[in-house]
Symmetry: D2
Subunit: 375 residues, 4 copies
């Protein structure tokens, strides 16, 4: 048995994302051999009661009610930021200065400026850094990337990507903290559009220019205290894009598309073939090849659970599907490999900055009503 270095995780935030990340570190060694192995050393949060319960249930060895304590601890090698994006920059910069490796939830920051300062900090500190665009790590998406890189679908002309949710479809559903920009940092745009921007950058290439709009369909909602409160984040964000390689794209993110629980979907058309993916059937990739024999052409549905598919060999025999949480396990595997080998796997803070530039360009376009260069 070869000697493995354990690395200590310090995670901030114990709700939805905190749970997803915790689980990933916990499950990683079960499925994969990695250069270094994560240990769930400490989780941080402000509400001690909830934190304590969560820490226990999720298997953390300790907890801290002030995230700054994590930076003091020698047994913590990696800081994982699962807080609202308003606090990302402060934490990340402090952690980098403390010499901690970093993994941060998306979007990276509140602005391009903030994002750049974070990137500068991790570069200066020489630590490993990643941003948590987990959907890249669905085996089907990774497989799509390989097929595209091999030229299987040729030169890309189109991407159409949507990220549709519906938890706000009812105009009478109550006001919650996520609808307050001060608390949540962003609305649909930062929450959902950020993901499909990342997928487009990963699979198609860099954005050149965008034009878009953002909309809040229900502008006032009733709070638990019976008061009507203003919603100051967007319900939907849609935009068109030109890519540097000549492709064009349409993008739509919304929280009011009834019947779409978590429909992160795209189709990419090249001059030799096409690819379709839908998160809700995330194990399947649809592939069309123009050079299939005449009369035998059609989208084929590939179940990306074969041992030749990315990450699949670590899990179960072919046809035995995996789910949402595995995208985080696969991402954690990359992080561990990055740390063991001394590089920052993509998507890292540079991707985070580039993503933020696109987000901000769309916002600018939504304000000024015309195309904005992404640069």
């Amino acid at each position: 048995m070869r000697n493995k270095t354990k690395v200590g995780i310090g995670l901030i935030g114990y709700k939805f994302m905190g749970k997803a990340h915790s689980h990933a570190y916990r499950d990683l060694p079960f499925f994969f051999e990695t250069g270094v192995v994560p240990e769930l050393r400490a989780i941080a949060g402000r509400d001690e009661d909830g934190l304590k319960k969560a820490a226990e249930k999720m298997g953390w060895q300790s907890y801290e009610t002030d995230w700054r304590q994590l930076l003091e601890r020698d047994d913590i090698d990696i800081i994982d930021i699962c807080t609202p994006n308003i606090s990302h920059a402060e934490i990340a910069i402090a952690a980098a200065e403390a010499g901690k490796h970093l993994i941060c939830e998306k979007p990276l920051a509140m602005s391009v400026k903030e994002a750049k300062s974070m990137l500068q900090a991790v570069k200066k500190a020489g630590v490993v850094h990643m941003i948590c665009h987990n959907y890249r790590f669905a085996p089907a998406v990774q497989w799509a990337k390989q097929l595209i890189d091999q030229g299987r679908i040729g030169k890309i002309n189109h991407i159409r990507a949507v990220y549709l949710q519906d938890w706000l479809v009812d105009p009478y559903s109550p006001y919650v903290w996520r609808l307050n920009k001060q608390l949540s940092g962003s609305g649909t745009h930062g929450d959902l559009a950020a993901h499909i921007i990342d997928l487009a950058r990963f699979l198609v290439g860099e954005f050149q220019s965008v034009v878009g709009m953002m909309e809040t369909f229900t502008k006032m909602r009733c709070s638990n205290d019976g008061m009507m409160k203003e919603v100051d984040v967007d319900d939907a964000s849609v935009f068109l894009a030109r890519f540097r390689n000549g492709a064009i794209g349409t993008f739509e993110a919304t929280r009011v598309a009834g019947g779409n629980r978590n429909a992160n979907r795209f189709e990419i058309n090249g001059d030799k073939g096409s690819i379709r993916w839908d998160f809700e059937n995330m194990n399947q990739l649809q592939l069309y090849l123009t050079d299939d024999p005449l009369g035998m052409q059609g989208f084929r549905t590939i179940n990306c659970t074969e041992s030749c598919h990315p990450y699949a060999a670590g899990y179960w025999p072919s046809g035995h599907i995996i789910g949402y949480e595995h995208t985080f396990i696969n991402l954690a595997k990359e992080l561990m490999d990055g740390i063991s080998k001394g590089y920052s796997p993509s998507p890292n803070f540079e991707d985070g900055v580039n993503n933020q530039i696109v987000l901000e360009s769309v916002e600018k376009s939504a304000q000024n009503g015309s195309w904005v260069n992404v640069s």
Copy 2:
């Protein structure tokens, strides 16, 4: 047997659309009772050989090599225009002046100005007029319209509509007349985008403003004579829209989306439900209702072949599907009913004008790079 008035059709153009329209008139009386019954009196075209063969095969009683002859004939009540759009205005205006009812292929004209002059002509002449947006007449689309009008999906927030074809996906496929704007009148935008604009106007409402772009991915193609020729029509047209009722939309039409043979698809999201349709499975409507019981919510796939579905009772028992050609039969039924009762069923030349305004607004936006009001 009740006494029926026969009305004489004079159709101009005998290729794809001429065939679809001819078939519709021929089949209509088999499936439906209408106030007046069409007779295939004369078809017009320029190439006598091809025309003669087509006339015989399709069951036309006579043919004319000059469309003007049709206007002279007393036995012709309706002029059906299936020519490239460059000639629509001239024919329509002359026919209206000759007192003929009119049905015209889409897009109505080469410009808003031309379209308006056509509308003026038919109004002045007091003839019945329609534009051939056949996809409205899929039973599933008509059913969608009824459900929306009943308020089943509530206030509409989103439409995303695409019309994807792939016959130009290969950059080495040859140059053809449809790629010459002079001959074809328009590219993808007028050919395909016009259809989804019509569906949006039908189902969602009037456009308020648009922003878009048009793209020709392959700018030179090789002609049959071995010469490289410039493609001066668009391969793709994409745009965003705001509607007067507050809804927003994304639209994409393209001829280079490999694997999509004729994918005219839309999804509409209201605050009480959603609707999805895809022409390639045109008999099915997908419907999601937010007030289905908890845990039992999901898109249901309705096979719109029940006798309660629009037009379905004329055809076959439930589950026995119909196809593309039936959209034209249903449209022809409306035209006959309009003539017998003396009104111009929607979509008519007014719809054609409004559609053209949207088309032109998108073109303008594609040129000037910013939002354009649709008015």
Copy 3:
């Protein structure tokens, strides 16, 4: 214009099947060139009022209230039998003796003995004969046949075929004549199982042995006159089969499978690939090939509307789908070609006899509870 021989059709029965056949003859010349061209000369039925209306609407030149009159007429070349199967044999044998070509609805007869006497009659008379298993003539099914014959899916091991309807799912739906064996001739078994037996014979090969059961779930239903009546036909028929070539199969036909309007579906697995088809999306064929590259294997959905697909070139451009009625047009094309060239295209009365043998073997097995040889 080349000289074509017209052949006169005399059709018996003017309800569902009469309508489907009438339409096919009417539409055939519009879409296809055939050696001889059908004319709708006379339709026969017993109820003069209904018959007259149907004749007029469907475009028949004349009608007869006694089918025997059709046999007397020199202008009738083909007798088309769309009556309940109880009368098939009498009509077919008389028509053959009168020298008429024959096309008969399925199942061919009430028993193997009867079917054989019909086959003997047409053979003796030297007339052309077909049985109307229309589902064979979906382009996707014909394409499946070609792929199988080319060895694309290798040696066949499995077929699983179902024909599911649901018009009797409600135990309180009323008693109708189709539930009376005396009037209808057969229940689900003869109505629906006959079709999937034909598809299996067409695509897989001859049956060797079967074991099955038949079931009537609702044994009494209320008639319009308020009386409870006994249902003496089967609601469902299911059986297993061994084929002469070593394949095995499962078959199920039912009228009580809620949500399945007309779900005629099969999947065939060979040792090099698989094929799936579902009538409700009849234009699509799903094809899996084991020799697709590793990681790129999956069922591909082929839209069988390309000009290379059987019959498709006669209709519309690729992606423009056809429907139920076109299966009859395609079958009528074969009949006309058979008559013009002097042979009986498959499926003909020999197929009808072989189909009947399978039907009867299943019935026998359902009675005696064990495997029955098909011979």
Copy 4:
């Protein structure tokens, strides 16, 4: 923090099923609160090298190279049997006699007789016992059970169930130990048919009689040592069934259905609705209700990830899907609850015996060629 009793697991077998069970125990406390909490105390196997590696990777505290050692250990409360079925009875009976709770892989035993002796042993010992039919524990399947129990689909008439795999589709794929009945215990019938029999018993009810056949398409395969070896287990098992409540069913299990990696699928039709499920999209349940409004009827696709769906609240927000491994976690939850409250949750050894009776009845029928009563 409330005081929890830990229970020690001793698991025998460390391959595919050993991995699935190990993971379930490991992950259970992360997602669910249970009365007792499993600890991975010891894993047993014969090959020390492989065992040691597996133990370490999967997080077992210790290992034993003789399963009998597990029975000696006081810290082991539950014996989990993941060995080939030939050894189930010996281990289970010994474990029961040693007072250990039991969870056993399916099929329970090599024969009904053996299965009954196992049931007798656990009953005599008074220990908790379960059999690992994990597919029951997909949330969509549990939800189907609740809908059926509430009468939502009415009286059941039909089930059609298939379990299709394709890893033996190639007749030239090599001989492996699973094709040796001596080593594997059973072929497709015990491996796959056992699962769909369980689902049918769970959702429809008890079997009354069956008729079936079993087939080995490729009777000789080449072993790694270059020798041709006889395959003495079945490639496929198909059968018809009658249920005590009047329903009828068709069942098919095979390893040679190309393109079907792990297609465990069923459709159930009642007189008020229907249910469809397919493991490869295991989060989705399709539901059809006959009392939906006219024209709005259709199968709805329910994403069973809402907090109201069974087990779903323990995992992720709605729309964030789970996979194969979660069926084992859910089953482990039931086992823990059973142990903490002192009962044997279904499916237990009684279910195992009843399942074995069906399996054996089909085998008997395959031999004697007629219906066999299940009793």
